[in-house]
Amino acid sequence: MPSKGLLLRILEHDTGGKIFLSLLAVVAVLVSVLNLAVPEGSPLHVSTYTVTLLGKYLCYALLAVALDLVWGYCGILSLGHAAFFALGGYCMGMYLMRQVGDRGVYGNPDLPDFMVFLNWTELPWYWFGFDQFWFTMLMVMLVPGVLALVFGWLAFRSRVTGVYLSIITQALTFALMLAFFRNEMGFGGNNGLTDFKELLGFNLQNDVTRVGLFLISALTLAVAYFVARYVVNSKLGRVVVAVRDAEDRARFIGYKVESFKLWIFVFSAMLAGLAGALYVPQVGIINPSEFSPLNSIELVVWVAVGGCGTLYGAVLGALLVNFAKTYFTGALPEVWLFALGTLFVVVTLFLPHGLVGLLKRRRKKATLNEAPT
């Protein structure tokens, strides 16, 4: 089978990726079976709440992979990547709102409740098309992609780099947050979009739908991982790393550095948008707080903790930090932000390559010790 050969070839030197994808497959199947096939009373049963929680983590992991592509591989520390995630989420939210139809509180077949509440009489033009699923999926990638294209084109062309770039990405997400807070924008103001009913006709409250969304998240993450790995293994990937390490050198051997940065930035934004779109039906709401600058910074911490520039490190970091976050916000809500801050300081000081770097070092040491002297 040629396709199988291709997949294996993509993972050829990627032990971490193989381990991650195998684990992902096992967990995805196991969790689904334990939720659907094992009765609720059994100690082995996995609750639908947990399934959805895991689905949410997988979306975060996808977002982390997206950030790792621009930060770990191209050296662009974007502090606004959650904006692309949120935009993808809003696109999906608009579709889910249109799916509600006349079952809203006001029973208007065309207008979402919040528009009726604002005394709007017709749907704004930018809501057109979002009753179609295919159109929505297109927009989920296109809207973040186009924003990244315009923003990146302006920034990279004028050679904005380093801290300055990080600051303007942060400003970007902040500006979007303020804009989406406004009711007149037509995206539900600070309440955002919520009270979704169904997706493609499947009731979002059903266990089966929940498990389905979880599985689709796992599958999307796996596919995105393969594509991202293909990209970083390609010559384009090597050029991108070259740009990270010696930008001028890359220019003087004939690469149009701006174009490479722009390509990877847009690709990453599209992945982030996809992650946001998978996230929204599982958590049941999207509101402007998703644009909060803090979210983008947290995302950077996940990738730093896992270890940037490996892809699977980003996944690991996203999962671990979010497990910890869920635990802390339940047990000791007031310490979470301090814990996060401390984590970041510890990682930057002692683990420049994150947990993955630590594991690699351990393994190297072990093999050195084993070697006969």
Binding site: S234, K235, R238, A242, R249, F252, I253, G254
Partner: protein
């Protein structure tokens, strides 16, 4: 070692006659050297906060010649290369590649893709890439984004890399990361990258710093071998080295040409003696 073989096929000579028929570069069209020179710098001035690093510099490099440029620290040698490669824009004056290409209006990657390659004063290679990958990245090829995503090395390209690895004596190190090389090896790798680009003009800034005597000799051999089919501009402080390769020497001082001629003429030039020994 036949230096002409360094560039493999000799495709370049062919395309010179057929006016870029087979070549695919960002800027189409071949460099026009019908009047002799391949590089024209005329009245180039570059100032940094009022200080003139280049002051009305006029300099021509002939097609196929090997030119050495010497001059005390701060004379403007590196700045001159910056102007040619698009890194620094002159405040006034013109810089042309052949008769037709205005270097002051081209960006760095365009200048590189029409055939001007550069080795930096401080060796700069891609530290996290292997030696092999460094050469691959430098290789003359379609360097746009999408072709880079789909492209794969073909047999001929692999052979070319193997060939250059041998020339720069790094065959045994091809799988090492460039960061792990010694200073001299990095210099060689950068020279290898220059060869991979198959440029028409090579700008080489202080190539032998950190090299052993043997390596220096080999560099001399390599550079002199390249001249003829390419133009080579070498900036170097090491006078013995310059003497060993030089045909024509240009002395830069305070941003303009002080003297020009063969090594002996230049060394006996009163103004040069004044600058190097007096003051």
């Amino acid at each position: 070692m036949n230096p002409l073989k360094l560039f493999g096929t000799g495709r370049r000579e062919q395309s010179r006659d057929t006016v870029g028929a087979q070549r695919h570069t960002v800027i189409s069209g071949e460099v026009d050297v019908s009047h002799g020179p391949i590089l024209y710098l005329e009245n180039v001035t570059v100032s940094f906060d009022g200080f003139k690093a280049l002051n009305e510099l006029t300099l021509y490099i002939d097609d196929g010649e090997l030119r050495c440029i010497i001059g005390p620290n701060g004379a403007g040698k590196t700045t001159m290369m910056d102007v040619i490669t698009g890194k620094t824009r002159p405040d006034s004056g013109t810089a042309f590649f052949g008769q037709t290409m205005d270097l002051t209006r081209m960006s760095e990657y365009e200048i590189a893709s029409v055939g001007i390659g550069r080795k930096f004063q401080k060796p700069t290679v891609f530290p996290r890439h292997t030696v092999f990958e460094n050469l691959e990245l430098a290789m003359r090829a379609d360097k746009r984004v999408w072709p880079s995503l789909w492209g794969r090395l073909d047999g001929q390209q692999r052979d070319r890399i193997t060939e250059v690895l041998e020339t720069v004596m790094l065959t045994g190190q091809q799988a090492l990361r460039a960061a792990e090389l010694s200073h001299g090896q990095k210099q060689w790798l950068e020279i290898g990258m220059l060869l991979m680009q198959d440029p028409r003009v090579l700008l080489v800034d202080e190539p032998i710093a950190g090299m052993t005597h043997q390596e220096t000799e080999r560099t001399a051999e390599l550079l002199t071998g390249l001249a003829g089919s390419r133009s080579v501009v070498v900036v170097e402080h090491d006078m013995a080295f310059v003497r060993s390769i030089a045909r024509k020497v240009t002395v830069l001082h305070e941003g303009h040409v002080l003297a020009e001629g063969n090594m002996d003429e230049v060394q006996n030039h009163p103004a040069v003696i004044e600058v190097y020994l007096g003051g």
